[in-house]
């Protein structure tokens, strides 16, 4: 069994072995191995040129990665926490995201974003910033929930000719375990049915896939489908519409703040394209629009819990 963290590490290591254009850049990633130890041992294997400790400068990390990418490298940037991408936002959105459209120049960079809450990280170490980048044209956004997908999607992200935000959920690092194929393989940027069902579908991604599975594992005998989006850009519209067609009732779960979250886009898609298939309102469970508080009872009060998802599903099933 491999943890989600080991799978990310493994994917990065395998791809660095397979392609010498791949290099890692980030704060404290070389000798120290990264704040979460994803690049532990990399320095010894790949040397300081390819496992680069950078100054504390997120705009610098993303900006120089863009420069390296357009001259032929495949940089993988680590944000120490996803939250700090706010300091590299401009380079990612304005320089990387618009480059291909404007000048036909590809920017193959991957930005690893350790995201999410649930462990008292507080307002600056718990965010889920994926929607910021969904809203910015030209950036792909993926968010795996299992070790197997984490490895495969990271490899897909590195091989993709576009800037890709790779959301790795911190709460899954050591909790999510599973079998992971050896060697390199690509996981497609499409959705995956995590558990088939027909009475209701819960649509989620990242850590919320686990919350959804747990919440609906034994829900008064209802057969609940869980659709793991895996990729937010591109969004697998066909898979979403297919699940809705089969299940007719939908709960969309986001760990991110509610307004304009990925789930809002999913709900809008369903409202427009699957209205006739619905047997009830599209129900959303998300974090309210507040900064993620530090103290455990406060944090637990805002993050979507197993109980909240259960309750939302029960209500909708009875509708």
């Amino acid at each position: 069994m491999t943890t989600y963290l080991e799978a990310i590490s493994d994917g990065l290591r395998e791809e660095m072995r397979a392609d010498d254009r791949v290099l890692c850049m980030g704060e404290d990633i070389a000798d120290f191995g990264g704040a979460f130890k994803v690049t532990d041992g990399f320095l010894a294997e790949f040397g300081p040129d390819r496992v680069m400790d950078t100054p504390l400068a997120e705009s610098g990390i993303v900006g120089t990665a863009i420069g390296a990418a357009v001259v032929g490298m495949r940089p993988v940037c680590e944000m120490q926490f996803a939250d700090f991408i706010a300091c590299g936002f401009d380079q990612l959105v304005n320089v990387a995201g618009k480059m291909h459209y404007r000048q036909g120049l590809a920017v193959p960079i991957t930005v690893r974003l350790p995201s999410g809450g649930g462990f008292s990280g507080g307002p600056f170490h718990s965010q889920n910033p994926e929607a910021w980048f969904m809203h910015a044209p030209g950036i792909k956004v993926v968010a795996p929930s299992t070790p197997e997908d984490a490895k495969g999607l990271l490899i897909s992200a590195i091989r993709d000719p576009n800037p890709v935000c790779f959301l790795e959920h911190k709460h899954l690092y050591r909790r999510a375990k599973g079998e992971v194929p050896a060697g390199t393989y690509e996981t497609p940027m499409t959705a995956r049915v995590a558990r088939p069902g027909e009475d209701l579908v819960v649509i989620a991604y990242g850590a919320m896939v686990h919350t959804a599975l747990e919440a609906t594992d034994d829900l008064d005998g209802a057969r609940v489908e869980v659709l793991d989006l895996r990729s937010l850009v591109p969004l697998d519209e066909a898979a979403i519409l297919d699940s809705v067609r089969r299940c007719s009732k939908v709960v969309v779960v986001d760990e991110a703040n509610r307004t304009c979250a990925a789930g809002a886009e999913v709900a809008a898609l369903i409202a427009q394209r699957a209205f006739e298939d619905l047997d009830g309102p599209v129900v959303r469970v998300a974090t309210p629009d507040v900064p993620i508080p530090f103290s455990p009872p406060l944090e637990q009060a805002v993050l979507p819990s197993v109980d909240r998802v259960k309750e939302a599903c029960r209500e909708l099933l009875e509708y």
Binding site: S59, G67, V70, D90
Partner: protein
């Protein structure tokens, strides 16, 4: 022809210097005449949006770009049209770019000087200043780690030195001793903001604090800019790290076409008009026996032809407005520019 490849064996260094001098003048003239033409097209309503030029600053982009080899890489800013011309962009495509035509370098996706021809080793700027400092730094980082004898260069304005990306790039380049050249175009104003409101310490003095030299050069002397950039390039190739070059010049027009720059004292403009970089190079070449008028006529004719060609180019197809957001094929890295010598 200014855009033709000049590749001849040089009988002597003096001869080389003389030919370079003519080429430098040609690129400055080509920039000046093209921008004048674009301004006319703007007044005729053929250039949408706004129009920015580098009148009076032609020596800075010409001299610096001319010092770079085809395999070097450039991030070109908004007063630097000549850099594109030196790299080999055809003048007609520049005018088409201003007019939002399908034949412009960005095919109508971006306007004015926001372009770079990737096949010629250039990345076009974004509006956010000075974001390209970091992109150039990253190119140099790749050159260094691949141990390639190549250099990256970018220009930036005095105003943009106040933003954080400037510091991040200067610091990064210094820490890693990268083969990168930063050319500050000190044109006295950032839009309406004079230097005195921009910084307490001149940026060229700050270079030392980042661990590499800052040198000041007369930004209206194209041969001086060329020479100092060549030296910086040699330094970079020798592994001695970055150089910051401060080219002191003056923005002789408004920030953009709409700006009457009433905030600039007239005496200042008068003083700088006596130091016009184009006239200065013409005088120098005339003393060396060059037929300057012939060069002018040649360049004018080239701009006329380019104008006709650009005006004949179609506008982009509206149906293509949503295409090409993502790269669907292979990521192709930047290509080489055209050899200048």
């Amino acid at each position: 022809m200014a855009t033709q490849e000049v590749r001849r064996p040089y009988p002597s260094p003096e001869r080389e210097a003389a030919d370079d001098g003519v080429a430098l003048l040609r690129y400055m003239l080509l920039m000046r005449f093209l921008e004048e033409r674009a301004m006319n097209l703007y007044r005729q309503g053929k250039v949408p949006g706004s129009f920015y030029d580098g009148f009076g600053q032609e020596a800075v982009s010409t001299g610096a770009a001319y010092a770079m080899a085809p395999e070097d890489r450039l991030c070109v800013l908004h007063r630097d049209l000549a850099a594109h011309l030196v790299r080999g962009v055809e003048p007609a495509r520049v005018l088409a770019q201003y007019m939002g035509r399908a034949g412009g370098i960005t095919r109508g996706r971006d306007g004015n000087v926001h372009f770079g021809d990737p096949s010629l080793g250039c990345v076009g700027m974004v509006s956010m200043l000075p974001d390209m400092m970091l992109v150039a730094t990253g190119m140099a980082m790749a050159f260094k780690l691949r141990r390639e004898p190549r250099v990256a260069l970018t220009w930036f304005g005095d105003g943009s030195t106040s933003r954080g990306d400037w510091h991040e790039a200067m610091n990064w380049a210094g820490v890693q001793r990268l083969p990168v050249i930063f050319v500050l175009e000190n044109n006295q104003y950032a839009y309406s903001t004079p230097l005195s409101k921009q910084f307490a310490v001149d940026p060229v003095q700050r270079a030392g604090a980042y661990g590499f030299p800052g040198v000041t050069v007369d930004g209206n002397d194209v041969e001086a800019v060329h020479a100092v950039t060549r030296e910086a390039r040699e330094r970079a190739l020798a592994g001695a790290g970055p150089t910051m070059i401060e080219a002191v010049t003056m923005r002789m027009h408004g920030h953009a076409a709409h700006d009457d720059m009433r905030y600039v004292p007239p005496e200042l403009l008068e003083e700088w008009s006596r130091r016009d970089p184009v006239e200065r190079q013409e005088r120098r070449l005339a003393e060396r026996g060059v037929d300057v008028e012939a060069v002018r006529n040649e360049v004018r004719a080239e701009v006329d032809r380019a104008t006709e060609e650009a005006l004949a180019m179609p506008m982009p197809e509206p149906s293509q407005a949503t295409e090409g957001v993502f790269c669907e094929g292979e990521a192709v890295p930047l290509g080489d520019g055209r050899p200048v010598r």
